[in-house]
């Protein structure tokens, strides 16, 4: 597992714990911040992210809500417009569709529609992605859809540093920010600097350097892509791995700099292939770096099927290291 250079003292923790520390820190630092969502309090959070926070901060700042996604997401938006800095937790991206009216029609439009009079500094967190055999209504990766919407920002923390650091920066942002936490990352363990703090939320990161091909990905797929890069290295192929971190805005400069160097690119995206974020990234490469390319672009996305329950079918539906290796070799003309 690759982490940022280790500074000073480090502590070992899970991604889940990093998210929790980010929430704790934000609530302590800013009296305007509160967490709101289904089962965030007494239950401790659907994925146990907020376990223990109710006892520490009380029910006003760790606010359990009824199963009213549109209602409490709208309440987060309204309270943000009135000066609070709410963190709204939607259990999964599939449930967020019940709040899509508020996210798209209110949060994303408000600043523009009101002629810049009202901004919506809300942060909306949710779990995304497959791999836990939760089948077709709890496993999808719709962050690419959200990245389609002007007026919001879309973050996909893949590392402990980002899980710990993106939230505070997002809360400082004057506009709505959506944070997608891949469900397969919550149990991931790693070392985090004891003094880890806020990180930027606008730049992509090069997680592994290489000169033969750019593998561009984000979120849960980052680790599969790094695994693929390790495998490719054994065959003499040096892959550069780009973690997009932010899907909106996209950091074109980092992508194009990498492609200019490697002259080959494969985009790895857990969303469905058709109309995917991978398509957007690929098209931007065509628009901006076409003459740098030595070969057609490749994509590894989820298969076009609702995520099935049986493990072997679920895994077959998702991007995997072996598929990424194959796509990279195809792009390089090596089979």
């Amino acid at each position: 597992m690759i982490q940022e250079p280790i500074k000073a003292e480090t502590v070992e923790m899970t991604y889940r714990e990093a998210v929790k520390q980010a929430i704790r820190d934000a609530i302590k630092r800013d009296e305007r911040v509160f967490l709101m969502g289904e089962d965030v309090g007494r239950y401790g959070g659907c994925y146990a992210v907020s376990h223990g926070l109710l006892a520490e901060f009380g029910p006003e700042r760790i606010r359990d809500t009824p199963l009213s996604e549109s209602g409490f997401t709208g309440a987060g938006i309204g309270s943000a417009m009135a000066g609070m800095r709410p963190i709204v937790e939607l259990m999964t991206v599939n449930f967020s569709l019940l709040a899509l009216d508020q996210i798209l029609n209110t949060a994303a439009t408000m600043r523009h529609m009101s002629g810049n009079q009202f901004g919506v500094p809300v942060v909306i967190r949710m779990a995304t992605g497959a791999g836990r055999q939760l089948a077709a209504q709890h496993s999808h990766s719709l962050e690419g859809w959200y990245a389609h919407i002007p007026g919001i920002k879309v973050l996909t923390p893949a590392t402990l540093e980002d899980a710990r650091g993106m939230l505070w920066t997002a809360l400082q942002d004057p506009d709505p920010v959506l944070i997608f936490e891949n469900v397969m990352l919550y149990n991931m363990t790693g070392k985090l600097a004891a003094d880890a703090g806020p990180v930027d939320i606008a730049k992509a990161a090069v997680r592994r350097e290489g000169r033969h091909i750019s593998l561009i990905t984000y979120g849960g797929s980052l680790w599969k892509t790094l695994e693929a890069a390790t495998a490719l290295a054994l065959e003499g192929i040096e892959a550069e791995v780009i973690d997009l971190r932010s899907l909106r805005p996209l950091d074109d400069a980092t992508i194009m700099a990498s492609v200019a160097k490697t002259r080959h690119a494969v985009v790895v995206d857990e969303g469905w292939r058709t109309g995917s974020l991978a398509a957007e990234v690929g098209m931007r490469i065509i628009e901006q770096a076409f003459w740098s390319l030595d070969a057609p672009l490749g994509r590894v996305c989820s298969e076009e099927v609702p995520i099935p329950y049986p493990r072997h079918l679920e895994q077959a539906a998702l991007p995997q290291a072996a598929k990424i290796v194959a796509a990279a070799k195809a792009a390089l003309g090596k089979s």
């Binding site: 309204g78 417009m81 029609n105 600043r111 523009h112 810049n116």
Partner: protein, 337 residues
């Protein structure tokens, strides 16, 4: 005409102001309708003709610091709240001097200076927003009231249910004002609701509620006074159903196939402005020359608003993508040069 016992100041001046506010809305919208046919105003435009007593009865009862959430049929609310008629008209034109810089148009009037939170054109979508504004006031320990206007159509939305429940459960200081004009676009209330006595729905959430004749501005004002006082003191929601009637089409594109002309004509006889004028005359509260004077004042204000809108400027196309984010330079990422 209702004369409730708890109306504290039915002075002649006050009554004439109620009349003037209703006339302001009516005559402003008559002008808008004319300007629409001249294609000065485009898009969807929803007129408030017949419903003026609701905004005029409720909004002046609110404190300046209070918050208002309205719908796409909100010209009346904006004008009564004190959004300048000049900037409202410029917004109707789409000029950058408009109250939403021209970005919103008729359906999206916003004004931070008067805590006017729009101009929300997804039916029911303003209710969760109002819940959030009131939640913030509760958490800040403010004594503000949020007034949330919506129509009978919104009652069928899930967001209505969610918002009623949240407001009651969390004890939020919201005045819900249901403008029941009997039609959700073209669908009659009886064709869309199993319970047509709307204020009773609020009771299911243990929200104090009442229904009032929304064509009677004095009755609406008296009810609003009770309601706002109750919200401010109890810090709990209150539900006011104002039974009214839309005398014009839903929007400028509506041929009104869903109701008989005779129904509209009958309703026209009890419309709030004529009715109030008649009542003022019967009670010798208005001199014969006062109505023309009020109308002349309003017409001068409208003429000024039209001149302001006509003289307004179009936002340069180069600024198209402004206001999507607070800082546009970092917001959109760089798209193809």
């Amino acid at each position: 005409m209702t004369l409730a016992a708890d109306k504290p100041r039915l002075t002649r001046e006050h009554l004439l102001n109620l009349l003037k506010q209703m006339l302001r809305i009516r005559r402003f919208e008559d002008k808008c309708s004319e300007l629409y046919t001249q294609e000065k105003i485009r898009g969807f435009m929803h007129l408030y003709d017949g419903e003026e007593a609701v905004a005029v009865g409720v909004i002046p009862i609110l404190d300046k610091r209070d918050r208002i959430v309205a719908t796409y049929r909100e010209h009346g609310q904006a004008l009564v709240r004190g959004v300048p008629m000049t900037t409202v008209m410029a917004e109707m034109y789409g000029k950058q001097e408009g109250c939403s810089r021209g970005r919103g148009g008729s359906m999206h009037l916003f004004d931070a200076a008067t805590n006017f939170y729009g101009g929300n054109a997804i039916v029911g979508g303003g209710l969760p927003l109002a819940v959030g504004l009131a939640l913030a006031d509760k958490m800040w320990r403010n004594d503000l009231v949020t007034a949330c206007f919506f129509g009978d159509g919104a009652v069928a939305e899930g967001e209505f249910h969610e918002s009623m429940n949240l407001a009651a459960l969390w004890e939020l200081p919201i005045l819900f004002v249901c403008e029941n004009n009997l039609y959700a676009m073209g669908t009659a209330l009886a064709l869309s609701e199993s319970e047509t006595d709307i204020h009773r729905k609020a009771e299911c959430y243990r929200i104090t509620s009442e229904a009032v004749d929304g064509m009677d501005v004095v009755a609406v004002e008296a009810a609003a006074r009770r309601a706002v006082h109750a919200v401010r003191e109890s810090r709990k929601p209150y539900f006011l159903e104002c039974r009214t009637y839309r005398l014009r089409a839903h929007s400028m594109f509506d041929p009104q196939l869903y109701r008989e002309k005779s129904e509209v004509e009958a309703r026209r006889k009890s419309e709030p402005i004529l009715r109030f004028e008649q009542w003022l005359q019967d009670n010798h509260m208005i001199h014969p020359d006062e109505l023309p004077r009020l109308e002349a004042e309003i017409d001068a204000e409208i003429a000024e608003a039209v001149a302001f809108a006509e003289a307004g400027t179009w936002e340069p196309v180069e600024q198209l993508t402004r206001f999507v984010y607070a800082d546009a330079t970092e917001a959109t990422g760089r798209v193809t040069p």
